[in-house]
Each structure stands twice: as structure tokens, then as C-alpha cells.
């Protein structure tokens, strides 16, 4: 049975093609203004890689911020369930998933069957979301995906404390004006974001193994800071792009009918 999962986020759109418990292909594109367009483009990319056509799909499950807009989805499933499913499939020992998305972040607790026990979203403040890094990358005039690398070279330990993203940005501006090194500022931003998210996991009481999913998981700076933040090592998904985890989960769920 051939299935697909399509995850339309606020920043990126992802698709995964799945057959006999294997990932056949996947695709990630930056989200377009029109989610319908995003979903169609990304699924086509994934299908082409797999040399398949839309018609070959037995089931397609949609998820993510823009799931309502996916025209070809047979079913919709919440991100929480999809992330849980994807991570559990990839690593059955997982009991806790931390996902930093563009719009919001989540900590999810699952049982040994990948069923969601409890979950929580970021406190109503965007400084705990992927958007935080975007806005900061803007202010620092560096590329979002370079931040991880740049942060590594940090020497001085700075602090960015403000809850409000825009005020945090002003803090960054003052740090720039104090001629602080950009690497140090980025490093502080990583810790600031990681610590906000760490508190989510902590409020559910940590249980291992913990994995981190979502695009931000590729940012080594945040990834390592998160381990410090929750006090236990955070694992990376085994051999797959953490960004497609939601779509993967959706594809797996699609295959479960």
C-alpha cells in the first residue's frame, strides 16, 4: 500500500511517500503564500522522486498549520499525533518529543506504543518558537541556516532574557551596538530559545529517550543547548531529516487503515 503525508507549516511545506513500512521519498520546500500551491508543489516533488503519480497513492494524510488547505488529503491529523508517530516509528525507545515549529513549539509525551499521553505548547509567547530565530537572523543580517555554524565559534557568554521577541530583538540591537561578537549573540539566542522550550518538557516531567524534531533541530547550537536545558541528552532522529518527521508521521498514519 502506497501512502503519503503532507505537512504544511507556516514556514516550510513537507511531503513523504511511504510504502511497506519504508520511506520511498520526501521533499521540503519553503512555504508559499498560498498553502494550496505549497501542498501541490511539495507533493509533486516527492512523487517525482519516487517516480509515482498522485493516482498511485492509496491514502494521503495532511497535517500542520495549513492542513485545512490541502486539496488532495483524504484525512487530516493533528501535528502532535503525527510528530509522535513519526518519532516513535523512527526510534521506538522515544518517550518524549520536543518539536520547535515556526508558529509554536510542543513537548509531547508518548507511551511505548507511540500513543500521546500528554502534550503542551509553548507559553503564549513567540520567543519559544522558530519565528524567534528568523526575526533574529534578520536583525543580525545572517542566513537562518548559518546560525548553527556561526554560534559554535562563540567565546563570550551573553544573556538575552526578554520574553517578547521584538524586545529581545532590541536587546540584540543593543548588544550589536556594544560591538559584541555576532557569534556570541547567536549563541545567546540559541540558549534563550532552547531554555524556553526546555521548560515545556520539564513541565511534563522529563522521560527518556527525548528526541528533537522540526527544522530547528538541524541547528546544532539549539540542539546542544536543549540538552543542557532539560538536563538529559537529547537524541536526533535516526538517519532522517528531523524536518520531515511530521509528514512522515502523517504518511505512517495513512498506512494504518
Amino acid at each position: 500500500m502506497k501512502t503519503a503525508g503532507c505537512d504544511i507549516g507556516s514556514r516550510t511545506a513537507k511531503a513523504v511517500i511511504f510504502e511497506n513500512n519504508k520511506i520511498i521519498s520526501s521533499a521540503v520546500i519553503p512555504a508559499k503564500l498560498d498553502p494550496v500551491e505549497s501542498s501541490e508543489t511539495v507533493i509533486q516533488m516527492a512523487l517525482e522522486k519516487a517516480k509515482l503519480k498522485m493516482g498511485d497513492m492509496d491514502q494521503i494524510v495532511g497535517t500542520g498549520y495549513g492542513q485545512q488547505e490541502i486539496p488532495f488529503a483524504h484525512r487530516l491529523e493533528s501535528e502532535i499525533v503525527c510528530h509522535a508517530k513519526g518519532a516513535w516509528w523512527n526510534m521506538p525507545s522515544v518517550r518524549m518529543i520536543i518539536d520547535i515549529g515556526g508558529q509554536d513549539s510542543k513537548a509531547i509525551k508518548i507511551d511505548e506504543n507511540g500513543k500521546v499521553i500528554r502534550y503542551t505548547y509553548n507559553d503564549k509567547c513567540a520567543s519559544g518558537t522558530g519565528r524567534f530565530l528568523e526575526i533574529m537572523a534578520d536583525a543580525l543580517q545572517v542566513a537562518l541556516d548559518e546560525m548553527g555554524e556561526i554560534g559554535k565559534t562563540s567565546k563570550e557568554r551573553l544573556t538575552i532574557s526578554n520574553q517578547c521577541v521584538i524586545f529581545a530583538e532590541t536587546e540584540v540591537v543593543s548588544l550589536i551596538n556594544e560591538e559584541k561578537d555576532v557569534a556570541d549573540i547567536i549563541n545567546a539566542l540559541h540558549r534563550s530559545l532552547a531554555n524556553r522550550v526546555a521548560s515545556l518538557a520539564r513541565s511534563l516531567t522529563i522521560e527518556q529517550d527525548v528526541v528533537m524534531t522540526g527544522g530547528v533541530a538541524k541547528n546544532r547550537g539549539v540542539f546542544d543547548a536543549l540538552s543542557d536545558g532539560i538536563g538529559v541528552p537529547v537524541k536526533a532522529l535516526d538517519g532522517i531529516d528531523p524536518q520531515i518527521n511530521g509528514a512522515l508521521g502523517a504518511a505512517i498514519i495513512a498506512s494504518e487503515v
Binding site: D123, S161, F167, N195, R196
Partner: protein
């Protein structure tokens, strides 16, 4: 700048605390100015005011406290959760405000998750929001209960004699601090607000005798000073939420200003700000500590507080007042709104700011405001 006081103002576990512990001395932390330190001194226990300085993240406290909460108690919980307060033998919490009252809930819960985060002795002092009548009696009883709790926990005797000695010692310190307070507004300028403030903060962290000696030394060095061009600097009065992160005062003084007085929940307000040595010590402590002059938590006494503050500002001839509140501190946030209005009536220029507690990363935004305020005060002189 006095190095011992500086160390005290900017660090948590200061050398005198370490020394005290090495001597096998007990240390109890408290969170609110409505807790009479004399009681602990009388038991040879060192009471220290809990602070949130140097808390650089909130990942622990944010898992107990919600998002819409003042960052001061959060910072304290964060430090306790990361082992910075492991040296405490006990803690006395009280209902300073909703959030401080709830610190009791959060700290205990954290104790379940993090081994050793909860001190062996954890006490809650229930302070009324009124100064007189049945409230006075209630507080007296609370102090009696506190005393017997201490006696039981640390098996000590807190006799009336010991209490009276402790009161006497604290009063001597109050007199010394008052000397500093009077020097602060003299011109030419003999000491900065940061110096004075560091000295006052140190007082919430040090054994009495040690502190007294340092105060005396400090006073002597000040008196020897020739003094600095005070007249060019603008004299600022600072009020509002708890502010033991004295960098705020340092920041204000960077802008060609000097902080000549505060109305923050420690330090002393006037020469009469002492504990009576005449009668029953517990009654006397109640009279001093169950005060309406310190904190807006004493609801319904705004007029008296405002009158006292305005009188002080005029008495110390401050050029203007900066009133600040920590984000989500509604008590001060609101009272500052009323003060702003009454300052205007009394022709006292004022700057009202809201800030986060802790590492002063909002420097840029704060500096711009303070600079502008000082420029405003200066342009006012030119006009005259």
C-alpha cells in the same frame, strides 16, 4: 567603591556567608521585608534576603510558574533549582504578593523533582494586609509561632533578652545607615548612589557585627573624601518594585545623575525608622515591620505612602523621581500610576518605567529613557 559591599551586592554566596557556614553557623533565607530579621539574629541564625541576581535563564522556574508572572520570584526559583541556594538551612516565605505567596507552591513542587532543591526547613509566615487591631494581634501571634518553630527546628532558645539585644544591634545599624543616607544628598558629592545601595544590600546578607564594622570603615572613608562636583549631576529618587540588581542604579548614574534616595522594599526611610527598645520586643517588632509605608501590598494606605514619599523627595531636594516596576508587578505598576499623577501635582518631574528583573539586557532601551529624562531636568534649569 567599597570592595566588600560590592562583592555582596553582585554575588550570591559571598565570602562572609561561606565563613559563617565554615563556623557551622545556620543560614535561613527570606523573601519579603515584612520578616523581622531580629528574631533570627536572636537565635544566632544568619537571615539573608533571597535574591534572583545572576539567573541567566528560566528553564526550571518556567516549568512551575506560568508566563504572566513577575521575573523576580522566577529568578529565585531558578537559582534554587540549580543548586545556588543549597547552602540554606531553611527558608521563610510569606504573602508579599500573589506571586511570592505562590512561591511556596512552586518551590515545594520543585523539591519533588530536584533532589535537595527544597531546604530542610520550609516555613510560611502569614502577614496581614492591615497594620492595626485584629491584624496587629494576628501578626504578633504569627511571630510567636515563628519563634517556637525556629526554637524547635534549630533547638535554640529565643529569650526576650536575646530579642532585645538583637533589636538594639539592628537599631545601631539603622543609625549608621541613616548617617550614610544623610551624606548621600550632601554636596559636594561624597558618595554615589551605587555605593550607598551596595552597602544597603550587603546589610541583608551579612552577620551583624561584621556588617557594623564594614559600615563604620565605609563611613570613615567617605567622611575623609573631598567630594565631587555634585551640583552638575541631577539628584534622582528611585522607587517601585524590588530592585536588588543594583546595576539599575549604576545605569542611572551613568547618565550624569546621582541616586540620592530610594523607596524600595529595603533600606530605611527616616531617622525614626527603628524598632522601639522601650517595651515588649514582639509588640515593638510588629509595630515596625507591619508597616504601611513600604509596599502597596498594604492596600488602602496609598495616601499615607504617597505623602511620605513626596515629603522625602522634597526633603532630600531630588530633581526628579524614577519609578519602576517589574513586568507583571501590578501592585507597584498601579501605584506608580497614582504616584506619577501626584508627583505632577507636586511639581516633581518623574519617569515611569516597566522592566524585567535580572540581567540588565534592556540597557539600550533603559539608557535612552534615563538620558532623555536627565536632559529634560537640565533643560528645565536653563529655562529658570
Amino acid at each position: 567603591m567599597n570592595s566588600i559591599f560590592m562583592e555582596a551586592a553582585t554575588n550570591l554566596e559571598i565570602s562572609s556567608i561561606r565563613k559563617w557556614k565554615e563556623k557551622g553557623g545556620k543560614i535561613v533565607g527570606y523573601t519579603c521585608s515584612f520578616m523581622p530579621v531580629e528574631i533570627f539574629h536572636a537565635a544566632d541564625i544568619l537571615p539573608i534576603r533571597l535574591r534572583g541576581i545572576n539567573a541567566h535563564s528560566m528553564e526550571i522556574s518556567d516549568s512551575y510558574y506560568g508566563p504572566f508572572v513577575c521575573s523576580f520570584p522566577k529568578a529565585v526559583i531558578q537559582l534554587a533549582g540549580s543548586g545556588k541556594y543549597d547552602f540554606l538551612d531553611g527558608v521563610v516565605l510569606s504573602n508579599g504578593c500573589d506571586t511570592l505567596r505562590r512561591m511556596n507552591d512552586c518551590w515545594r513542587k520543585m523539591g519533588e523533582d530536584i533532589k535537595g532543591a527544597l531546604p530542610s526547613w520550609f516555613y510560611y509566615l502569614d502577614v496581614p494586609h492591615k497594620p492595626d487591631g485584629h491584624a496587629f494581634e494576628w501578626y504578633v501571634n504569627q511571630l510567636k509561632k515563628l519563634i517556637s518553630a525556629i526554637e524547635k527546628q534549630f533547638n535554640v532558645q529565643i529569650s526576650e533578652v536575646k530579642l532585645n539585644t538583637a533589636i538594639k544591634a539592628q537599631n545601631e545599624i539603622r543609625d549608621l545607615i541613616w548617617k550614610i543616607e544623610t551624606l548621600r544628598r550632601e554636596s559636594p558629592l561624597k558618595l554615589t548612589g551605587s555605593e550607598a545601595y551596595a552597602a544597603i544590600i550587603a546589610g541583608t546578607l551579612m552577620p551583624v557585627d561584621e556588617y557594623k564594622n564594614h559600615l563604620n570603615e565605609f563611613l570613615n572613608t567617605i567622611l575623609k573624601r573631598k567630594g565631587d562636583r555634585a551640583e552638575e549631576k541631577k539628584k534622582i529618587f528611585l522607587g517601585g518594585s524590588i530592585c536588588d540588581d543594583f546595576e539599575l542604579i549604576a545605569l542611572i548614574e551613568k547618565s550624569d545623575a546621582v541616586v540620592v534616595g530610594e523607596n524600595i522594599c529595603f533600606g530605611i526611610r527616616n531617622v525614626k525608622d527603628r524598632v522601639s527598645e522601650a517595651n515588649n520586643p514582639i509588640q515593638a517588632l510588629t509595630k515596625k515591620y507591619l508597616s504601611t509605608s513600604v509596599c502597596p501590598r498594604m492596600m488602602g494606605w496609598y495616601k499615607q505612602r504617597a505623602a511620605m514619599i513626596i515629603e522625602r523627595i522634597k526633603h532630600i531636594k531630588a530633581d526628579g523621581a524614577i519609578i519602576q516596576n517589574i513586568r507583571f508587578c501590578d501592585l507597584h505598576g498601579t501605584e506608580n500610576g497614582l504616584l506619577e499623577r501626584d508627583f505632577e501635582k507636586n511639581k516633581i518631574p518623574s519617569l515611569r518605567i516597566e522592566r524585567e528583573y535580572g540581567p540588565l539586557t534592556e540597557t539600550g532601551r533603559l539608557k535612552m529613557r534615563v538620558d532623555a529624562f536627565i536632559e529634560q531636568l537640565k533643560s528645565a534649569d536653563i529655562k529658570e
